[in-house]
Symmetry: C2
Subunit: 697 residues, 2 copies
Amino acid sequence: MATLQDLGVSAFINILGAFVFLLLFAVLRIQPINDRVYFPKLYIAGKRAADHRGARRAINLNLCTYFKFLSWVPGALRMTQTELIHHAGLDSAVYLRIYTLGLKIFLPVMVVALLVLIPVNVSGGTLLKLRKDVMFSDIDKLSISNVSPGSNRFFIHLLMAYVFTFWTCFMLYKEYSNVAFMRLHFLASQKRCADQFTVIVRNIPHVSSHSTSETVDEFFRRNHPDHYLGQQSVYNANRYAKLVKQKERLQNWLDYYQLKFERHPEKRPTGRTGCFGFCGRKVDQIDYYRARISELDKRIASERHRVLNDPKAVMPVSFVTFDSRWGAAVCAQTQQSKNPTQWLTNWAPEPRDVYWQNLAIPFFSLSIRKFLISIAVFALVFFYMIPIAFVQSLANLEGIERVAPFLRPVIEVKVVKSFLQGFLPGLALKLFLYILPTVLMIMSKVEGYVSLSSLERRTASKYYYFMLVNVFLGSIIAGTAFEQLDSFFHDPPSQIPRTIGVAVPMKATFFMTYIMVDGWAGIANEILRMKPLVIYHLKNMFIVKTERDRERAMDPRSIALGENLPSLQLYFLLGLVYAVVTPILLPFIIVFFAFAYLVYRHQIINVYNQEYESAAAFWPQVHSRIIASLLISHVTLFGLLSTMKAAYSTPLLIFLPLLTIWFHKYCKSRFEPAFRKYPLERRLWRRTGWSTHRSQA
Amino acid sequence: MATLQDLGVSAFINILGAFVFLLLFAVLRIQPINDRVYFPKLYIAGKRAADHRGARRAINLNLCTYFKFLSWVPGALRMTQTELIHHAGLDSAVYLRIYTLGLKIFLPVMVVALLVLIPVNVSGGTLLKLRKDVMFSDIDKLSISNVSPGSNRFFIHLLMAYVFTFWTCFMLYKEYSNVAFMRLHFLASQKRCADQFTVIVRNIPHVSSHSTSETVDEFFRRNHPDHYLGQQSVYNANRYAKLVKQKERLQNWLDYYQLKFERHPEKRPTGRTGCFGFCGRKVDQIDYYRARISELDKRIASERHRVLNDPKAVMPVSFVTFDSRWGAAVCAQTQQSKNPTQWLTNWAPEPRDVYWQNLAIPFFSLSIRKFLISIAVFALVFFYMIPIAFVQSLANLEGIERVAPFLRPVIEVKVVKSFLQGFLPGLALKLFLYILPTVLMIMSKVEGYVSLSSLERRTASKYYYFMLVNVFLGSIIAGTAFEQLDSFFHDPPSQIPRTIGVAVPMKATFFMTYIMVDGWAGIANEILRMKPLVIYHLKNMFIVKTERDRERAMDPRSIALGENLPSLQLYFLLGLVYAVVTPILLPFIIVFFAFAYLVYRHQIINVYNQEYESAAAFWPQVHSRIIASLLISHVTLFGLLSTMKAAYSTPLLIFLPLLTIWFHKYCKSRFEPAFRKYPLERRLWRRTGWSTHRSQA
């Protein structure tokens, strides 16, 4: 077990790390040379021009600005929510609400828990007696483990579990209703977007002697005569796209040489045509590239002609446009054909949001893909456990010393020992998780979803299962480690909550370390943007030739929902599980939520450029994951109390998960349709349920 | 354990029972006095008039007809499916297909199992060696228990499990596609039914200063302007209905006295007005009833006026009619309001199918009701187990003798012993299950479903869970009984399939007895209609006064889907589980399916009068229950093989449930929409997927 001292060392290292990162950020962000790394969104939004603050001068020499160490914070907070939605889209604004939701849930919970539970736990005092038998850390004196078994004090914990659950549900309900309202309002107030009048039709059956577009046209003219406007077929234009890309590259070179020629009009740039300009015939570069571009133009035109006329290039997918939102809503929500595997209609994703590669997958193949990927995810989730458990066992220094006695002198140095025990487990886990999102995204793509937003949501959901099994359960059970794993598989079902319940308070220090490494230092690293910074300067040095290249070297990225949502959900899980068990963990989570909120607000305003707008389609997932966390916290508490000889608690706790499940079902039917369907009602925002509902909420 | 001899006695008793029932039926059905008991459907369909076969003559004296013992069989088989649909509706015709599906699945399975598995099992021969240790019955020599542990013969069982599963899935796919086709064809070929153009709208919000019908009118005129035709409000007319009922009763008395007067014109019937005609003033009955009816007519008219004009009598429910199926389909499938708990639209059930009492339940109450009922069902399913286990333990005669030694002389009589062992457990169980469907139906009503068909489906599903846990698992685990129950709760999860797997072959004889009692004798009892027969004659004797009364005393009933579907699903479960384990059980099931098919075909043609037509909406449930049975059979086999030291079988078996689950998902997306939605496509039955699909299937 890590002692309070280990924890202190870890906290010191992480706070120092975060501080260094923030300091570095403060210095780097005011260098004009880094402007495109730290403010790309402003360039994209047109709020900052290329020559801003004299970009020519690479280094900031104004000493005053160096002293304003946290000057970015007020800037990040200044924007109102409406401006934020306008500036960065609804997805980003709602994403930030997850952090405020965390604060809203955990701040009152923390206050109550610290005021009520810590005194109860401290005065419980069994561990002081048991000291010799078990190695507990000082943290455990503040946790539920410190209460003597069979004590009546557990009624207080039980009461707190009820209070925290009701409070969480109340905040969840309010937030769900707010987000649903924001979504509907956002969709209704958008300017006439094409995608709101468009439906994507997939699995169009092949009718002989008809082209796909004729089939589609005929079908919709017959079945939606009043509102059908037109259709746009999808072509397989991979070769065409390749040619266009090639042309862009040539154009870039041409621009480069023309610029060069303008600056030194006395000398036309020349070069050789062969490999890397070392061999081949010597040519005038400007003429050469002009000739190649015009030749390519002809090929592009002929390819275009081929694609448009070749029936094989048309995919069995079409975007069908209607003359009203009503017509599109009707078409998207209804079944078109008697064969439910044909003429599948859905709201068209935004053009930016479409994942073109997956549009033409036939229904049968989709069904097999989903099946195979779900098996693969299962395997991935459960076989990753082995290496993680191995890394976790490293945290047990006694084990290392036993295996490798020659390391003992190094490990026994007090600082090294504390460092290893406090820092390693969290960091190793984090590194381990680094490549995972990419793998999961590839899996989701194989599954065949047609929009980037749904791909990210699916990735997030896979990643969540992974985190739940491997980070949460894996750390709790395999971390205490192989000694518990064995008994876990051979225990009866009633024993599993107990095993988890007993291990949870012991693992509190580990999770505190994890929150500091992953949460605090990790978020500070996010604002520093180390990787994009390095890559931008490397590109700037070697590749960038024209202003267009510099624009392209800028890498604003977007909020990585696929990774961030599951991490956030893990923090909610930790907070809810430990709220009753070891409330001293809550301040760590509060600090995380507050700090991350600031950082992400700053990044959303200045850096990220969302690739698409899904109008907060991810919220139902956020909601149900927090509900799942609540349920897990109930099971944990149930197991823990049953080992504490608090037998009377069983019947009292059983209602909590039941009520939570009912609450979830109610919220689902009450709000989820707003995220899946589009209501037909024409008169928006007036005299209807929503407005009255708003005034109640 | 029951021996082969016990089984023989049981079979003899049950076959005799079935034979006696059939004989009784053959005699009773040709008595004209029973005509309305055995052929009510023909009266209702107008194919038989009141004076058919000289109904005045009560007893059939034509001796020839007594010798045609099974003469009803050809009559039952003669009708084609199309005629059957026309005569009794699609529900009945598709219900019969469940029996033929059972025959199609199990006949080939039985042939293969008997030819391949029985020789393999018999020549396995461990039990002969173990004879002294365990009391096995002779049936077990034919079952998988007879193969020595670790034998390579288990590969044959494994192969058979794959073959049977694939065959079952193949038949299921064919049948699902057929039934879906029949359903769509039935809906399309119906004459212009009002319910196909009508949508039921629930949870209409209250708008002040508007009546409900005005609100509805305005809402649909605005949101469905092109196809909206009109709406019909629903009134709370309980008092009105009561008055109408009262009038009918008075009218009946009036008819009775008028008839009496016509027969004896010399004497006007008189009576007293007080209780039971014993006290009160003496009156002329005809005048008296005429006066009361005319007085009631006035009250009815005023009540009618009140209901139509009182805004409180209008319920927040409406039937909205459209001018086309297309318009109704659009409205039923889409979300109307931004608040998804208001303006809930669904296909209107047939007028006969509506369960009026549940129409006005608000959304929030519905959500709570569903939650509470699901808890209640859980409690019912799991606490019924205790009495069942008690009854099961009676089957263990040694146990009775130990508890009540004074009964020993009676029990030890050989015939009594065989009778008790073979007959009691099945019968006790059956009696026990008798009141259950009523309770479950009440629960479903509380849940708030709005159509009788969905009520019956929900009852069936609750009943299925009950049967699965209490009859199947309860008999397998608690039957071997309290000695296994204890270890079951304290075993690790991996042990549960083993416990079931080991117990399954031991319980084969019990289930054979069960099939004979419940299946064979039960079905023969169904055709005899003992209860309706007695009740009809009692009514005829005491209540019936006029021809209208006689019509009403006729009780054709309908197929009790709520009870019959789960029973059938239990037979599928038994067949699939025992196909590999104890194939000798299969002939019992085949006999059941064949016999029940004949009986129900006869009953559907001559007796049952379906209350409503749901166009085979129950088929998805039938399909998924059979899939669940397949999965249970896999788990059982898995557990059984793992105790048989056939360790190599584990990796080979794991694919079977996975493939089955995938098959189910595919079928669900392929066919289920046909049972839930209504396609918008206008051109039916031509050139579309369905016709091409039909030719493939």
